[in-house]
Amino acid sequence: MIPQGKTYAILALSIFLFFIPILWPDEFYLNVIISTYLQIILAVSLNMIIKTGKLSIAHAAFMGIGGYTSALAVMRLGLPYLLALPLSGLMGACIAILVGRLLLKLQGVYFVLVTFAFGEVIRLFFVNLVEPFGGPTGIINIPPPKITVFPGTTFTILSKVSYYYLVLLVMLITLFLIQRIYQSSIGKAMDCTRETEHLAEFTGINTFQQKMFAFAAGGFFAGLAGSLFAHYYRYISPESFTFWESVNLIVINVVGGMGGITGPILGSIFLVPLPEFLRGFVEYQRVLYGLILILTLWFMPAGMLGVLNKILDWMKARKPRKEAST
């Protein structure tokens, strides 16, 4: 359980996030914040898969699956957005369960390689099927989400400010759910599976089921992020979820720190806005990410979270000494 003080701090921070568009109604910054939130959903859901000891480089593919599902559900089937959003999550989870049955049996580097192949297969699948996925151009003119609260009152989420709230809400729910999983016995069993898999297995933990659950739940949240992505940018194409997007999600986890949800959140806040502020150097983004990754591994192997914890420990260690001297 979270101690009381921390709960209030998180609550205060969440409320502060609700006021950002009012305090700071700048389109450019809101755009950066929205992409950061989307990346947080993706990075944290990938963190859950990493927590079971599996490094997937197909995570962005699930986002693509969610994006296409949502776009087609709204445009072809005429489903309301409030149904298309969970549907895209479920689609991500179903595909994760289908491929997970095979993939999750693979150990170590073989798993990494096959997830790479799977990500490419998904991308090529969408590239080659012009009907109904639009081939290499993807799907354009995706309508903005229309949300019917009561019959007759429909909000169209068109402005950046309203979209900010939609993404914020989904992100907070995602973070709450994943944090809750981490605190429960499920999360603890995931830690056991990652640290010493055979011991976990021989003490009654169904390690395969743990990995399956993390992979499916990860696919679900990535699917949600994909739906939000598609309706925000109003298009989805195979270029939106390449291998590099998956790699970026891993870099975010490594740079932020992989222990819990805080690491990938910090990593997203640091890495997503970075290229936005270096507009003239977009082509150097991968070089920059690579450089940051090397520097992180060299100087702070536990990521930003590790450094933060060290600073906190240092401050805690100083406090009693001060009290003793006065």
């Binding site: 809750r180 999983i181 605190q183 429960s184 016995s185 499920i186 603890k188 069993a189 830690d191 056991c192 640290e195 010493t196 055979h198 011991l199 976990a200 297995e201 021989f202 003490t203 009654g204 933990i205 169904n206 390690t207 395969f208 659950f213």
Partner: protein, 240 residues
């Protein structure tokens, strides 16, 4: 072939020893029973049910728990955390109750806390509860491995060379612990190199050599068996 044509049965409530020279296939035998490896042919009956092919976690949950020859624990965690983690796999109440942390889950945690406490006391580890597992002296790491196995409330416990690397006092401590576990109604299969431990504890002994079974019987019979002496005991001047 690591183990071939081995047939034996373990009676409920006994301590069953398995001995043999290095490479005889003792650990392989345990790996087969705990389903770490799947045998090419043959059956493993546990409570009249063939358990070949079951996943190891299901075997552990059915009351057949093993330890490992090397020290195996969650190294970064404390002894106490290890004891709590060791119980995670058992009495899992399903995804929803676990996710919601229902009352039943909290009740179970309370029971598990008590059990962890009792087990640490039983093995004399309670003063080390806040030590990091990988920082423990070797003997205590082995005891922690035993405690982790006992956390699953086994009906049958398989110990893979529990005395290896222990000093004299630690060995005596371990032997009395195994005896106490057995007196509580737990059947024990013991794979061991140390003859004194095996001869002192076991009711029945299986001798393996090159993956073949060469003798099976009470300790006194085994000590007199000529083939065993030739294959194994002959090398040990104390017992020859």
């Amino acid at each position: 072939m690591a183990v071939n044509q081995v047939t034996f049965s373990v009676r409920q409530g006994e301590i069953f020893g398995t001995i043999g020279p290095n490479g005889a296939g003792k650990t392989t035998l345990l790996n087969l029973i705990s389903n770490m490896y799947v045998p090419n042919s043959g059956k493993i009956l546990y409570r009249e049910r063939n358990i070949v092919g079951y996943p190891p976690n299901a075997i552990a949950k059915s009351g057949l728990v093993r330890t490992f020859q090397s020290t195996v624990s969650y190294g970064e965690s404390t002894v106490w955390e290890n004891m709590m983690r060791a119980q995670l796999g058992y009495h899992f109440l399903g995804l929803w109750p676990e996710f919601l942390i229902t009352r039943a889950v909290r009740e179970r945690r309370k029971v598990q806390t008590e059990k962890a406490e009792a087990l640490l006391q039983f093995l004399g580890l309670e003063s080390l509860r806040d030590s990091q597992a990988k920082a423990l002296p070797y003997g205590y790491q082995k005891l922690l491995g035993l405690a982790i196995a006992l956390a699953g409330d086994p009906q049958l416990i398989m110990l893979d060379e529990p005395a290896a690397g222990l000093n004299h006092d630690e060995r005596l401590h371990l032997m009395s612990a195994i005896q106490k576990i057995n007196q509580n109604g737990v059947t024990v299969i013991l794979v061991e190199h140390d003859m004194k431990v095996v001869m002192g504890l076991c009711h029945q002994i299986l001798v393996l050599n090159y993956g073949q079974m060469i003798a099976l019987g009470a300790p006194s019979d085994i000590q007199r068996n000529e083939e065993v002496i030739k294959a194994y005991l002959g090398e040990d001047p104390e017992l020859a």
